[in-house]
């Protein structure tokens, strides 16, 4: 089935095996999670996949960044923050007798008490703008909504800017109406698989509540933590009270997803513990580490005898979370000692154009115009062989594929101590088959001098360089191959499909 936009669509009544719920990633944004999704789909040619892409506003995304595998039978695209449909809403009178006030009370309660929204709350959210539920019109225009808003304001926000509070509340709740509509119109999937909490996870919980689909949740990073970092950079949120409100909101959506999902997959032990702390039931959590296609990166590997090329490269989107500026500052120190050294920033700059411009301005200010280059997006397997050392300065990561790819291509890694980067570089002594020793260096967050020292040591000490790349290669082959990851999901999907076929026939009929 092909719609006007060339994307495959299921028609009414048709179904697929797995519905991937993706927020701001595959197939329109390239990056680690997107690459992982692509690998996952390609790894299960026997299953049919649907993709439900949730974005913010249409102008934030370009075209497809991946060639869709043949087993993707459905792609639908939604923009939760887009204004269409709200501004031109007919100002008809509200339907009388619909339960209005109280629809969101349960959600707010869950936000405040840090508890999982009760099933009745999820039902109310799923019924938004449906006969019997709170209508979008009432939410936007009814007096009862305004009164509820004023009560909430007077009780907990008195003294703050009412205008900001009002628009925060609107912006926060409006996407829920869209999510409810998306959940209702979604094709039938035997499994819905959300690859983050947040809106995607909430959508999974709504679908789980409404249909007999099984709900699998995978978290690469920790969504609420990443949103908190985004919010710290967002100029449009005035004041810390409203920022806290947003964080509470995303935490509540997260608990809603944890409450409904089985299993709840994370990439490594640190994140699994974090999920449990955030409300995930421990017995439903499990770890499936990322894995990569080792062959793809083995091809271009350099001969060790050639020594390291004097290039430090950072592969990643140019966004604040990657802290590109620390890499630039580190390169200043590297170049001061090693004038022939080069720093490459390899990744798309369109996601946060303002931040990208700030980074370029920093390069100019520090006089690094010749040494630090922005290369835009390039396939990792083409770039990695040209690097002497791969660098990661992120302030938040989970299990970055870039590190695994660097190991596979024979490049040592200098990484900030985020996610499981220390585990990747220094090893997991308890794990069978893990070679002892360091595959690079671990640095502090936002520590340009330390990063520079680590880069210099690896670029200038041929012995240390050879040692690090050997350990990295052995480790990635032992623990982080693609097959190992696919085996994990084969088990997850298999169990879920069995349950979808077996125990829930009654609900389906």
């Amino acid at each position: 089935m092909s719609a006007a936009d060339g994307l495959p669509r299921l028609e009414a009544g048709q179904s697929a095996d797995v519905g991937l719920l993706l927020e701001g990633t595959y197939p329109f944004v390239s990056g680690g999670v997107s690459a992982w999704v692509h690998e996952l789909i390609a790894g299960f040619p026997e299953l049919s996949f649907g993709v439900c892409f949730l974005g913010a506003t249409p102008e934030m995304y370009g075209g497809l960044k991946y060639r869709l595998p043949d087993n993707v039978v459905h792609v639908e695209v939604h923009h939760l923050m887009a204004g269409e449909g709200w501004a031109r809403l007919p100002r008809r009178r509200a339907r009388r007798g619909t339960p209005r006030a109280g629809t969101f009370e349960g959600l707010h309660e869950a936000m405040r008490t840090r508890s999982a929204p009760a099933p009745a709350v999820v039902d109310a959210l799923a019924a938004l703008d449906e006969p019997g539920g709170l209508s979008l019109h009432d939410f936007l225009h009814d007096d009862a909504t305004f009164e509820a808003l004023c009560e909430e304001y007077d009780a907990r926000h008195a003294g703050e800017s009412f205008l900001d509070f009002f628009w925060t509340a609107r912006t926060m709740h409006l996407p829920l109406f869209k999510l409810a509509a998306i959940a209702r119109a979604l094709p039938r999937f035997r499994i819905v698989h959300a690859v983050s909490t947040g809106y995607a996870g909430a959508l999974g919980a709504l679908v789980r509540r409404r249909t007999d689909a099984r709900f699998v949740l995978t978290e690469h990073g920790i969504y609420t933590k990443e949103r908190a970092i985004d919010l710290a950079h967002a100029g449009w949120i005035q004041g810390s009270a409203l920022r806290r409100l947003w964080i509470q909101f995303f935490e509540a959506l997260g608990r809603m997803a944890y409450d409904a999902a089985d299993p709840i997959v994370s990439l490594y032990e640190g994140n699994r513990l974090r999920q449990i702390a955030d409300g995930a039931p421990p017995q439903r959590t499990r770890i499936i580490a990322n894995g990569i296609d080792l062959e793809r990166f083995a091809a271009g590997r350099r001969e060790p005898s050639q020594g390291p090329p004097p290039v430090a490269g950072l592969i990643g989107r140019v966004v604040p979370i990657k802290d590109i500026k620390t890499f630039v500052r580190a390169m200043q120190e590297v170049v001061a000692v090693m004038p022939e050294a080069q720093g490459w920033i390899v990744g798309p700059e369109d996601e946060d154009a303002r931040y990208a411009e700030e980074c370029r301005a920093l390069v100019r200010t520090l006089g690094l115009g010749d040494a630090v280059r922005f290369l835009g997006y390039r396939p990792a397997e083409q770039v990695l062989p040209k690097l002497g050392v791969a660098v990661l300065t992120s302030i938040s990561e989970a299990l970055p594929l870039f590190v695994l790819e660097a190991f596979a291509a024979g490049v040592p890694v200098v990484s900030s101590d985020v996610g499981c980067c220390r585990e990747l570089i220094e090893g997991r002594p308890d794990e069978e088959g893990d070679p002892a020793g360091s595959a690079g260096a671990v640095t502090g967050i936002a520590a340009p001098e330390e990063t520079a020292r680590a880069i210099l040591r690896l670029l200038r000490d041929g012995e240390a360089w050879s040692q690090a790349r050997r350990i990295g290669r052995v480790r990635v082959h032992g623990l982080y191959g693609r097959e190992r990851m696919l085996d994990g999901y084969r088990e997850v999907y298999g169990t879920a499909l069995k349950e979808a076929h077996g125990g829930h026939r009654l609900r389906a009929s």
């Binding site: 100002r91 936007l140 225009h141 009814d142 007096d143 909504t145 305004f146 004023c150 304001y153 007077d154 008195a158 003294g159 703050e160 800017s161 009412f162 205008l163 900001d164 009002f166 005035q238």
Partner: protein, 454 residues
């Protein structure tokens, strides 16, 4: 132009009785000046012609001008309000260069409309060809003048309006008196000359203030900027103001033929036009209140919303705005009430002094109350226009028009003692209904500001 409100506030801020008196006199002159000048001017032409021109011809002149006023006001009523809103929006968006070309566009529309009406009128009207041609020309000029008046008023250039009227009516009176020997045609010709000067004076004021390189534009008819409901409101409001007069003119038992199809109702017309002169104090209060307290509180409320003040502050601002409306209305009520009382007491001697029969006393008294209520109604409408309650004002103007028509017809059946009550009751009921609507809207002002945001 914030000038007028600023000047009034300056006078009021002096905290002296003299400042207060000057503020209200000033406001009285600029708010009622055009109104008073036109009634006094036209009646003056009439009075000064008695004895020099045959009585019938004087009456023909007076009735023709009355019809011209009624027709031009009703005919442009819709465009007046629509155009007022357009100009206010232009000023708010700082799109001043649009003003002059759109005035030219509005004048073109008016002239074409009135002109199209004028062609058949030449054949329908009675009198000499000169009288008929002068009449239809005056219809076009007067119609155009109202558009210029509302433009200057919505830019708060009341002084420009009053000045233009002063010059225009001085020429009208002088012209009419010097052309007296030519009879009806002479009176009309002189009057028309002054009206043409009035129109040109106002247009040149606009042209001088807002120079532009575009000659003519019709943005005010653009779907995205024009409000059809306002056009309908303006038409119904003006029709409502005149409909009781029209009914009296065209009911055979209360009227007589003056010039062909033009009829007049001596018994009804004289008291009401005299009564209209009494609204000066109420209009002065209205202008002072709207331009000072209300405008300031209105701005302050929306500033509080926009600047992100706490809800408590927004509500406090809402309360102060409500208080300003209450005070303004009650002040109009008091001042105009006292005026009406004084005039009621003085009425017998007053009528005697201008040489009008005591038979009119009863109707004059009722009309005094009626026009007082009309001032109140105007104030209420103005508050509702500020609050952008277009649906309410449309409903109210329709109610007013229908009530005035129905009650006037009813009083005609009830007999002469009841004449005038139709007008007085309809203005009173409409004012009251409008007050209730305004009060309800003010109560939920912050709700509507947020929940009905466009």
């Amino acid at each position: 132009m914030a000038g007028i409100g600023f000047e009034l506030r300056k006078l009021l801020d002096r905290q002296s009785l003299w400042g207060l008196v000057r503020a209200y006199v000033y406001a009285g002159v600029i708010s009622s000046g055009p109104w008073v000048l036109s009634i006094v001017g036209v009646m003056g032409i009439g009075l000064l012609s008695v004895g020099r021109v045959p009585d019938l011809e004087v009456r023909q002149f007076l009735v023709t001008v009355t019809y011209l006023m009624a027709a031009s006001l009703i005919g442009t009523g819709g465009l007046q309000l629509m155009f007022t809103r357009f100009i206010a929006d232009c000023a708010y968006r700082h799109e001043e260069p649009r003003i002059l070309p759109n005035l030219m566009g509005a004048l073109t529309v008016t002239a074409v409309g009135a002109g199209a009406l004028a062609v058949p009128l030449v054949f329908l009207l009675a009198g000499s060809l000169a009288v008929r041609l002068l009449t239809v020309t005056a219809l076009v000029v007067l119609s155009a003048s109202w558009i210029a008046v509302v433009l200057l008023s919505s830019l708060r250039d009341y002084r420009g309006v009053v000045g233009s009227f002063l010059v225009g009516y001085a020429i009208s009176v002088a012209g009419a008196l010097s052309l007296r020997p030519l009879g009806t045609a002479g009176l009309l010709g002189g009057f028309l000359a002054g009206q043409i000067v009035l129109l040109l004076a106002m247009v040149s004021l606009v042209a001088r203030r807002f120079p532009t390189d575009r000659l003519v534009a019709f943005d005010f008819l653009d779907r995205r900027r024009a409000y059809v409901s306002l056009a309908l409101t303006g038409l119904l409001y003006n029709l409502g103001i005149w409909i009781d007069k029209l009914i009296f003119w065209f009911t055979p038992s209360t009227s007589e033929v003056v010039l062909g199809p033009l009829r007049a109702s001596v018994i009804y017309d004289i008291p009401i036009f005299l009564a209209y002169l009494s609204i000066v104090p109420g209009m002065a209060v209205f202008l002072v209140r709207v331009e000072t307290t209300f405008a300031v509180e209105y701005e302050a409320f929306f500033a509080a919303v926009r600047q992100g003040q706490p809800l408590a502050e927004i509500r406090r601002r809402r309360d102060r705005l409500t208080l300003a409306v209450k005070q303004g209305i009650s002040e109009i009520f008091k001042v105009q009430g006292i005026t009406v009382l004084v005039l009621l007491l003085a009425a017998p001697r007053l009528l005697e002094a201008v040489g009008i029969s005591r038979l009119y006393l009863q109707l004059f008294s009722v009309d005094l109350a009626g026009v007082a209520m009309q001032v109140l109604m105007l104030a209420v409408f103005n508050v509702l226009f500020y609050l952008d309650e277009r649906r309410a004002t449309l409903a109210l103007s329709a109610t007013f028009c229908a009530l005035n028509a129905a009650l006037t017809i009813a009083t005609q059946h009830a007999g002469p003692p009841f004449y005038g009550y139709g007008f007085a009751l309809s203005t009173a009921i409409t004012s009251l209904a409008g007050l209730l609507v305004a009060s309800r809207k003010l109560d939920r002002l912050e709700t509507d500001t947020f929940m009905r945001a466009r």
